[in-house]
């Protein structure tokens, strides 16, 4: 039995193609068609007029981080350091403290994410056993004028709300 061999047709060897000029004119005809249709009606352009028209963000998009809470508003994070250990960019800095209520033992007193170092890989979300950190805020444009502003504290992370409903988020594969 012979191996299945798929022969790929190689173009560029016929004399018309080796003449080159004919193919050049064909290519120029294509580009000119594009030019003309866009020139005569620029609503056909395949662009989004960005700052005014925002792109549609799907639930699976890894945007800026947030920390989730229980129904009573207390933080879900138990300061297990899984995300910090997993983080390839080492942008998460956690300090653990005692919780106080009976839910768990530990709670983070400091949870800093340096967004300048973050590579938005989502490993922290994958690693979290408590579903306490998520990247479902839908914020894709992270900018500031100082370095300090790019460091997210625990309060900022808790204050950010998710952009999607729980169902949509779950359907996204989380």
């Amino acid at each position: 039995m012979s191996i299945k061999v798929k022969t790929i047709v190689r173009n560029g060897r016929s004399w018309q193609e080796r003449l080159y000029l004919i193919e050049v004119f064909k290519g120029m005809a294509i580009t000119f068609r594009h030019f003309l249709s866009n020139f005569l009606d620029n609503s056909k352009l395949a662009v989004r007029h960005y700052p005014e028209v925002k792109p549609e963000i799907t639930p699976r998009w890894r945007g800026r981080h947030r920390l989730t809470t229980h129904e009573d508003g207390t933080i879900k994070c138990v300061a297990c350091y899984m995300c910090q250990t997993n983080c390839p960019a080492q942008c998460i800095q956690i300090e653990a403290g005692e919780r106080g209520d009976d839910r768990t033992e530990k709670v983070p007193v400091k949870f800093d994410i340096d967004l300048l170092e973050c590579i938005y890989c989502g490993y922290c979300v994958e690693a979290c056993p408590m579903d306490a950190i998520r990247m479902d805020t839908g914020i894709f444009s992270v900018t500031s004028s100082t370095r300090e502003e790019m460091k997210m504290s625990i309060d900022q992370l808790l204050a950010t709300k998710g952009a999607f409903s729980e169902e949509e988020y779950k359907k996204g594969g989380a």
Binding site: G27, T31, H34, F35, L40, D41, K44, L45, H49, E52
Partner: protein
């Protein structure tokens, strides 16, 4: 020297100096918007003055301001600062001067005197162009050498090798053209192209020299260091090639030189092969003879054209998203008013001409204006071809470039000379 002489000298020199510089802005704009339209993008269309974007032309102004105010660095390792500064000047000045012999209208006869409508009224024509264009590569070599860096050096070397190998087919293509026209003066070449072939086809160089025009255009692209022959600045290999060490104003001058060279070589291509300033079927004598009917025709055509332009502006100068009180519509209103204002002004001038001045020297001036417009329109089309080719074809590999020059274009241009000479001898 009368007042008329002095005025005409000023007009011609001003045309030769400022039109190429103005066309830098036009061709940069055409390059960026043309490229984006070819690639289904919109290109620079946000920069504005009081909300007026002029179709993206304001972006050029912004870029120019940016380039003027940027720090102009001369790197510390450069030993020959004089040559380093001289290089962009050579590139820009040679490009500018090479345009000086291109006629932009037929010989103007005023008060019994004849004026060659070129910035430098000389019959050297194509010889001057070739001599000056050959110089521009010195600027590039000098830039590459005085930059004292590997990228710059390699860019300069490539430019030198490329220009030398493409100058030969270019000149050979011109030789067969000289056999056809029998003159080196560009003005006489343009006059020759005003004749009719078999009585009904304009006798343009492109019809008499179909092979020559292809060779010449390819060589002109290579001379101007444009895609697909821009190996001298191939950014994927050499960062920026010969101007890698340049910044600020010196880079601007390089940049301008490149576009002026593009304009000059488009003008030469138009003059040699596409009839120069000649309007097809209307050579200068015919135009002067039928000045009044032509004027009437113009007075009818301009409002019709303006109507189409206004409709086009109305359709395309809008925001393509929900926007309250769209400022672009207001902008379009102003543009349309400007278009109609220009039409009214033109009609008024033509009307005054018809009533008061037709039949005299004004005929000759009117014809010259028409020919200048024709020449600029043709040159703009040729500039668009430059842009169009740039955004269609990928860059050649260096050995392919040299092979094309020496193994294909050189034999073809020699063949072209033999065939042309044989036909010319047989016909005469």
């Amino acid at each position: 020297m009368t007042l008329q002489d002095i005025i005409l000298i000023i007009i011609r020199v001003a045309f030769g100096a400022f039109v190429p510089l103005c066309f830098v802005a036009v061709s940069v704009w055409m390059e960026r918007r043309g490229a984006s339209f070819i690639q289904d993008r919109s290109g620079p269309n946000r920069a504005n003055i009081l909300g007026f974007r002029a179709g993206g032309l304001v972006q050029n102004l912004a870029d120019a301001v940016k380039l003027f105010f940027k720090e102009d660095v001369i790197p510390g390792h450069i030993k020959h600062k004089f040559y380093f500064v001289l290089a962009p000047i050579i590139v820009c000045v040679t490009a500018l001067v090479s345009f000086a012999v291109v006629p932009f209208a037929d010989t103007l006869v005023l008060g019994g005197k004849e004026y060659l409508m070129q910035a430098i009224p000389t019959d050297l024509g194509i010889l001057w162009f070739l001599a000056i264009v050959g110089f521009s590569v010195y600027g590039i070599i000098l830039a590459g050498w005085s930059s004292h860096s590997k990228y710059g050096m390699l860019g300069g070397l490539r430019a030198a090798a490329q220009t030398i190998s493409y100058e030969i087919p270019m000149v050979l293509a011109i030789i067969s053209l000289l056999v056809v026209y029998g003159t080196v003066s560009l003005n006489e070449m343009a006059q020759f192209q005003g004749q009719l072939l078999f009585g009904f086809i304009p006798m343009w160089g492109v019809l008499l020299q179909p092979l020559g025009v292809i060779i010449f255009i390819i060589a002109a692209f290579a001379e101007a260091n444009r895609v697909p022959f821009d190996l001298a600045e191939g950014e994927s290999e050499l960062v920026a090639g010969y101007h890698v060490e340049y910044s600020g104003l010196k880079f601007t001058i390089f940049f301008m030189g490149e576009y002026v060279a593009m304009f000059a070589s488009s003008a030469i291509i138009v003059t040699l092969y596409f009839g120069g300033y000649q309007i097809p079927w209307f050579n200068t004598a015919t135009l002067i003879k039928y000045a009044v009917p032509v004027t009437l025709l113009l007075m009818i055509v301009t409002p019709v054209a303006a109507k189409f332009i206004a409709a086009w502006i109305r359709k395309n100068n809008v925001s393509h998203y929900e926007r309250e009180n769209d400022p672009r519509v207001r902008e379009a209103n102003v543009y349309i008013k400007i278009v109609w204002g220009t039409v009214i002004l033109l009609e008024a001038i033509l009307f005054l001409y018809l009533v008061f001045a037709s039949g005299g020297a004004a005929d000759n001036i009117l014809v010259a204006c028409l020919q200048v417009c024709t020449f600029l329109a043709k040159t703009t089309c040729m500039l668009f071809v430059y842009v169009w080719v740039r955004w269609t074809l990928p860059r050649f590999r260096y050995d392919q470039l040299q092979k094309l020059g020496w193994n294909v274009l050189l034999p073809l241009s020699l063949l072209n000379i033999f065939v042309t000479s044989a036909i010319v001898v047989a016909l005469s």
